[in-house]
């Protein structure tokens, strides 16, 4: 049986990787992934053949995984977080369409929204939207209309890829849109390098201040709704229980 595991490693801390993920990697002959994800799991790669590529090598990386599977190898394609959320799983299914003999197994992982929320407190207690601000693969007009729609209906919003060196004003643009519908004193927070030890940054702020915060591609931003407040220095969305 030809098999590819699309494996989510979680936030990058071995205590938050599912045992099923470690087991999938152990069962695989070849491990494929973006270089910085491979660096998260050195002990699991011992004795394995590895294929690593830099950013934006996504199509080539998945194609190589398929080629290896067609040769009879069991392959693990590793992603940080969950492989299905802005990860490689979807692309693997697309590229392998002509090869139904390859079984693609998605091994779920803890995505950045969940990891960041846990460190901030409990901001995702009620309905929320996950939106990437990267317009590399989605037009900005679409991103904008989504931000508008979820802000208007008082949803909590979690932003992935909030800005990069070449998109240095994207969080600021998003804040302008959200501020049309959410008050400037809406409680927010962001986490950089969630659960990666001393490198983690965890910060609370108000929506009116968020545009000026130093966020990058390794940061996950959460914008509360009208039920979100700061309780003992944690970001908490209430869900309507009588307390």
């Amino acid at each position: 049986m030809m098999k590819i595991f699309a494996v989510g490693l979680g936030p990058g801390n071995s205590t938050l990787m599912a045992p099923m993920a470690a087991s999938a990697i152990e069962q695989s002959d070849v491990i494929v992934g973006y270089t910085s994800y491979m660096e998260l799991i050195p002990e699991l790669l011992a004795g394995k053949r590895t294929i690593s590529t830099g950013m934006r090598g996504e199509v080539e990386r998945c194609q190589e995984a398929i080629d290896e599977a067609l040769l009879g190898n069991t392959v693990a394609v590793v992603c940080s977080g969950d492989s299905g959320i802005y990860g490689m799983a979807g692309l693997l299914f697309q590229l392998a369409e002509a090869y139904p003999e390859i079984e693609i197994v998605v091994v779920p992982g803890i995505t950045a929204a969940i990891a960041a929320a846990a460190l901030l407190g409990s901001p995702l207690t009620n309905d929320f939207a996950v939106i990437s601000l990267s317009d590399h693969l989605t037009p900005w007009t679409t991103i904008k209309s989504r931000l508008e729609a979820v802000s208007q209906t008082d949803m909590v919003i979690c932003l992935y890829n909030p800005q990069s060196k070449t998109r240095s004003d994207y969080l600021s643009r998003a804040c302008k849109i959200m501020l049309r519908h959410k008050p400037a004193d809406t409680a927010c927070g962001y986490v950089r390098n969630a659960f990666r030890g001393d490198d983690s940054t965890i910060k609370l702020c108000l929506l009116g201040e968020l545009a000026d915060e130093p966020v990058d591609m390794l940061t996950t931003v959460i914008i509360g709704n009208s039920f979100t407040s700061v309780i003992n220095n944690k970001l908490v969305t209430a869900r309507g229980y009588q307390v």
Copy 2:
């Protein structure tokens, strides 16, 4: 130090529980949770004092956890999935507001959206919204406006608590709203008892058929967007890569 862990157990399969969750339970003197969640982890409860309650005992359960922590016990409050997503973490922070001396640590878990998506294929590859159809704690008018907003902007939608015995037409109501903005042939899927062995149901269908499907409170439903299709029997949302 007074400490409460709000622990997400994941979908209910030990191979998908983070090692950090097992470790938090091991460190705790008292384990608090809804009876059916406690049944997921019998081996971790050996020798522990446990406090379990039925559904809708949420406030009492969290209050008991706080009382135990104030007595000096380390307490784990366990939830299925992630404790911050429609779970107990938010309520714990609210109820413990007057006791800043209690440290509340959220241990993240794999939520139902991620588990269901993995079994269906890769439907959450791009922006998505998570919405609960339960109007026990959120007014139906709010739920309705959120469904409307996210459907209009072509987001993938993941529904929690789609219907119960007393809310037997809620999925049908939601489908009517989504069908105003999404075509009837939009690819969808649902999973009941994700990763719980032989009890799992995994099914694909079209949005036009979804209202008649037999879903319940243990089912997670995912409605695709205009980039979602069925590839080799898997539900896949494309993200815009040139393939």
